[in-house]
Amino acid sequence: MNTSSAARRVRPPGRALRMIVGLATAVALAACGPGVAANRGGSGEPRQGGDVTFLIDSLGDTWIPNNSAISSFQGHIWGHLTDKLVYVDEKGVVSPWIAKSWEQNPDATEFTLHLRTGVTFSDKTPLDATAVQANLDIWARGDATRGINPIGLFPKTYDHAEVVDAATVKVFFKAPTLGFIPTLGYHGSILVSPKTIALPAAQQADLSNDLGSGPFVLSSWKEGDSVVLKKRADYDWAPEVLGHQGPAYLDSITYKLVAQPSVRTSAVQSGQADVAYNPSPQELKSFADQGFTTATPRYLGFVNGFAVNTKVAPFDDVRVRQALQHGIDRKEIISTVYTPDWQPAQSLFQSNVPGATDHSADFAFDAAKAGALLDEAGWAKGADGVRAKDGEPLALTLYANPYLATSKSVDELVSQQLGKLGFKVDVQAFDVVTYGERVKVNSPSVAAYEVTRSFIDAGIVAGILTDANKGENWFGLGQSDQKLVRLATGVAGSGSVEARAPLLDELQGYVLRQGYFVPLTQIVQRIYLQSPRLHGVVYNGLAYANYYTAWLG
């Protein structure tokens, strides 16, 4: 009764009946479980037609496809305007889409893609092998002479692609690249018309020139204001796993920029819009109580956590790193900063990543153990509660990650927890620009770099953890840790997922036990508040909401 009166307050009068119906649906949905599961179970049969309004906090910067496709905001629109070669679901399972099948050589250096036929871009240009080749080239290399970026996370081992026939493309790599196929489902890998690719950057920046083959086409757009999509009537090449073929149910989707979070959520509560993006995590429970659907899908990638720089004292001592590892109470982070929709980390990878294994025990919270490790390492507690050794305090600076809204609150909590152990923790928060300038992974001034990074395939670790093959060298180890180098190289060189799995498992355990990576929680970077009228929403491996299968009840 409490919830219905709270909900009615924000609705215009005369909507009480609809509200009650909405509540009933919500109660039924809530029984199905939280998040994704609740959304898929709609009541009754999908209905044709309807217009959905999605309120978003930003529409990103440029619309040049290569430069914008991985934007957390524009990715929503690209996901409806374009298709990808493969589909990656929220569990990381890869399935056919525009590529109906594929094979690889035993070394994973050559891949053959067999394309679906009859697929066209919205300008009727066929999406054939030539078009795929043009897309692969621009993803891998970009075009610096026209100001077009490459897709940063596309495998740097790409060599070239060959058109075998209209429906077959062969792709060559300089080194084993098992991650290639999953990467084709990454948000950067959107297929656009070769005519668009050939345009100069200034024209690609005009969204109306960017043509895809997706279930929706552009109806209108206004820079920094809105993007209106309408359904494409002859669309007939959806991923099989979505369980729906042919045109979308919805007639249109309007993405409208509303910068104020409270205006976004109130508009959905008052029935003026259907979806609000990025409401604050703390409000989710009250929205759910009022009968609205909330979704907190996880992307595939690293969990939120710290990459520890082993070059920076005192973190060159494995005992200090392990004290950090066991000194953080992750349960308290979830109960204080987040809601039960957030899941504790089980490894350095999100638990939905294929190949991620449960290593919770390797970094379980144990203050006594952490304290003993610090004692053993010679860090004695002083009168002020701060540990010191040779006159140096046990200090650590955390830099809140500006790409994650909750990062500062999490860091402040961590600083309290570590403070009890005897660490002297300072939390710094910078804006995006300053952060980019000052806080870099593996920099001598950053002992713990807070990671938020999505990926499609866990094989990416090979190019991150050490400095082999221009790797990012997250822990400042170079190639000094033989075991880590052996594991990372093994992962990179694996020709099959089966051969790679045990190596990945061993690598996760090793990195965590060495205290190289200190996980916090699994990360949810995209949060949705949704009207109970909207059913059938699907979230992909990058946690983007897909409205191709959605319908209004």
Binding site: D61, P150, G152, E223, V263, S266, V433, V441, T452
Partner: protein, 326 residues
């Protein structure tokens, strides 16, 4: 007198041009001094995973690795031929970006000005009409109150009451007539305060003049006295104040547009400032400077014509200071 006026006009026009050019250069310098630019900032987002080599190549395509004075020279030579350049953030021509939003802001600013004037004159009339103890004092406190309540608070309250509770307008349809009216009210309220202050002061002054006393002694009603005798002389200084509120309107538009979800010059500025999109900022600041300078110039040039008492002693008009761009 005529020759004097021509000399005065010429001087003011030349000053205006210098102010606009200075605004253009000043924006360039300020933004260039700050670290970062939209291109590099995007490339450096750790999510993107670019190598240093890739970053260097793209940055050099945009010429952002060249010395600042060369970039300034480029930008000035472009300006001379009327080319405002391309936005570093969106990749779209600056003229297109501004063209898309200028109409919305113009509509908002003009309706806000109308709201402000109606409010100010209503308050002004009220202070003359209401008896001293019958609400006049309260009315006189309004301008101070309007100035002290931040624009965004007014905006949020209006949205919460009229959009969400009463459903009088939809936040989604932010450029619609109803939504525009409420945005204009939010923006117009603080602006009305400045106009009302000056108007009330002048009304008080004029009401104390002998001619007003004479008019009253002849039995003229309060309304007729206000409309026939007090309004005109009290309104003249208001012209100057209106010219000065252009800055207020442009500045307030940034916040009002943000809150009401409107896409105007203000929201373009907001996006460009947060991403350090230099070409757009230069163009917008220049546009604002031009607007401000032109409106004030027109007010300055009109003033001697409207009020014959104003002497052009040494080319300066009464009570009018030189004002730089906002």
């Amino acid at each position: 007198m005529n020759r004097d006026y021509a000399k005065y006009a010429l001087r003011r026009v030349l000053q205006a041009i210098v102010v606009v050019l200075l605004a253009y250069v000043f924006t360039f310098v300020v933004i260039s001094v700050l670290p970062g630019d939209p291109v590099t900032n995007t490339l450096r987002n750790p999510q993107n995973g670019f190598t240093e080599e890739e970053i260097t190549r793209i940055v050099s395509y945009y010429g952002l690795d060249r010395p600042v004075h060369e970039q300034l020279w480029d930008s000035l030579s472009r300006l001379v031929v009327g080319d405002l350049g391309v936005s570093l953030r969106s990749g779209l021509p600056v003229t297109r970006l501004i063209g898309e939003v200028v109409g919305s802001t113009l509509v908002l600013a003009l309706s806000a000005l109308a709201v402000a004037l109606v409010l100010a004159f209503a308050i002004g009339f009220g202070t003359r009409y209401l008896p001293k103890r019958g609400g006049q004092g309260l009315l006189r406190a309004f301008p101070a109150l309007f100035l002290s309540v931040p624009n965004f608070v007014v905006g949020l309250v209006l949205i919460s009451v009229f959009a969400f509770q009463l459903g009088l307008f939809r936040v989604i349809d932010s450029e619609g007539g109803a939504a525009t009216s409420f945005a204009a009210i939010a923006l117009g309220i603080p602006v009305s305060a400045q106009v009302a202050e000056v108007l009330i002061a002048n009304l008080d002054h004029e009401a104390g003049q002998e001619y007003a006393a004479v008019a009253r002694s002849r039995g003229l009603g309060r309304t007729r006295l206000f409309l026939r005798h007090l309004l005109k002389p009290s309104s003249l200084p208001v012209v100057t104040v209106i010219a000065l509120t252009v800055g207020e309107l442009l500045g307030g538009a940034v916040i009002t547009e943000q809150i009401f979800g409107r896409t105007g010059v203000g929201s373009l500025v907001e996006r460009s400032v947060t991403t350090q999109d230099l070409p757009v900022l230069q163009a917008v600041v220049t546009l604002a400077a031009v607007t401000f300078v032109v409106v004030n110039l027109v007010a300055d040039l009109l003033y001697p014509l409207l009020d014959p008492r104003v002497r052009l002693a040494g080319g300066r008009s009464r009570g009018k200071a030189e004002v730089a761009a906002p």
